[in-house]
Symmetry: C2
Subunit: 193 residues, 2 copies
DNA sequence: TATTTGTTTCAAAAAATACTGAAAACAATG
DNA sequence: CATTGTTTTCAGTATTTTTTGAAACAAATA
C-alpha cells in the first residue's frame, strides 16, 4: 500500500527504520506490564510512546501511531495528565494540543509513587482503621472483657495499619520534591554488597 | 434459611457477630485493591480471609465462606502458594488440605516484593536491554556515526534500565531473609521529620 | 453569529478476564 | 487393586473492562 502520510524519512533509511522498530518494541514491552500495574494497555502504550520518542505529540499522531480510536486516545491522555507524568504543550500557529512525557525517570516514578499512595495506600489505611474500630478502640489502658480471639484479630489489623503507615511515610519522603536526593541515597544503598 | 453448617457459635452472640462482620469488611476491602495490583478479586479475598481469621482453612471452608466454586478456590489457593504468602497445613485424622496465611505482615510483604521483582521487574530489565541493543551496544569508546536522535533514544533507555536495576537491587535487599533488619530501619527512616 | 477545528463524553460493541461445574486425575485406605 | 475421598483441570459461560465512534461540546476564526 502507498504511504498516505508524508512521514519524515530523513537520513539513511536503515537507521531511521531501526529507531522506529526500537520504539515500537518499547511500546509493546511497556504495554505488557500494564496488567500488573492495574492500568489499561492503551494507557501504558500511550505513555511509552511519548516517553520513548521524547516528542510532544498531538492526539491524531498518537491515534495514527498506535492505531487506536480518538476516544481512547483522549481518555488515555487525560488519565496520564492526572497521574502527572504527561503534560500539555502547544505549538505556535497550531490549535491542537500536544502532549509530552516527563523525561526524568526518577521524577516520573516520584509522581507515580505519589499518586499510588494517594489512590491506594491512604484509602486502604482509612478503611482498615474503620474496620479496626468495629472491634474496640485502640487503647492499652482499658482492661475490657475482650476475648482472646478478638484480641488477636485486633493485633493483626494493628500490625497491618502500622505497616501501611510506614510505607506511606517512606513513600511521601521519596515522592516529595525534596526527595530528589533520595536518588543518590538509593543508588548507594543498592550497591553495597 | 436454616444454617446447614454446625458453625462454632461459642461465646456471647453479640461479640461473635461483630468479629465476623469485621472479617467480612476486611475481606471486601482487601478485595477492592485487587485491581490495582493486577490480581483477581477472588485471589485477594481468599488471602484476606486466611490472613484475617488467622486460621488454617480447607477448600470447602473457603468456598462456603466466600461463596465461590471449587475450581475458583482451588486455583486461587494454588496461586497464593506460588506467591509464598500462604502455606499448606494438615490436621490429624483429616485427609483434607488446610491453608494458612503468613501472619507476619513484614514477612508477607517481603515475599510479595520478591515475587514481583522476579515476575515483573527482572523480565522488563531483560527486555529493555534487548531493545537497547537494537540501536547500538553501550560503549563509550566507539565514536560511531550515531545520529543525535538515536543518541537521545539510547540515553532514555539507559536511564530507565539504570532505574530498574536500582529498584531490583534495593528490593532484593529488602526481600532477602537478612532483610529482616530493614523493618526497623524503615520505621526509623519514615519517622524522621 | 455561523463556521471551522479540535476535544470530550458515553452508550453500545468488542475484547479480555474470571468463574463455574463436572469430569479426570490423583491419593489414601482397606 | 477397588473404593472412597480430595484436588486439579478446562471447556463453556458469565462478568468485567476496554475500546469504539458518533454526538455533544468548546474554542477560535471569519
Amino acid at each position: 500500500m502507498e504511504s498516505p502520510t508524508g512521514d519524515n524519512q530523513i537520513g539513511p533509511q536503515g537507521t531511521e527504520t531501526t529507531i522506529r522498530e526500537a520504539q515500537d518494541a518499547f511500546v509493546a514491552s511497556w504495554g505488557q506490564m500494564s496488567g500488573a500495574w492495574g492500568i489499561s494497555r492503551t494507557m501504558a502504550e500511550v505513555h511509552a510512546l511519548l516517553f520513548v520518542t521524547g516528542e510532544a505529540l498531538n492526539t491524531d499522531e498518537v491515534m495514527e501511531r498506535l492505531q487506536i480510536s480518538r476516544g481512547n486516545a483522549s481518555m488515555s491522555l487525560r488519565a496520564l495528565l492526572e497521574w502527572g507524568i504527561v503534560s500539555k504543550a502547544h505549538k505556535r500557529g497550531d490549535r491542537k494540543e500536544y502532549f509530552q512525557a516527563e523525561q526524568d525517570v526518577w521524577a516520573m516514578f516520584r509522581a507515580i509513587v505519589r499518586e499510588r499512595l494517594k489512590r491506594e495506600v491512604e484509602p486502604l489505611i482509612a478503611q482498615i482503621h474503620e474496620i479496626r474500630d468495629l472491634t474496640g478502640v485502640k487503647q492499652k489502658g482499658k482492661a475490657d472483657a475482650i476475648s482472646a480471639e478478638t484480641h488477636l484479630h485486633n493485633e493483626r489489623l494493628d500490625e497491618l495499619v502500622d505497616f501501611f503507615m510506614t510505607v506511606d511515610q517512606l513513600g511521601q519522603r521519596f515522592a516529595s520534591p525534596q526527595g530528589r536526593g533520595l536518588r543518590v541515597a538509593a543508588k548507594m544503598l543498592a550497591k553495597i554488597s
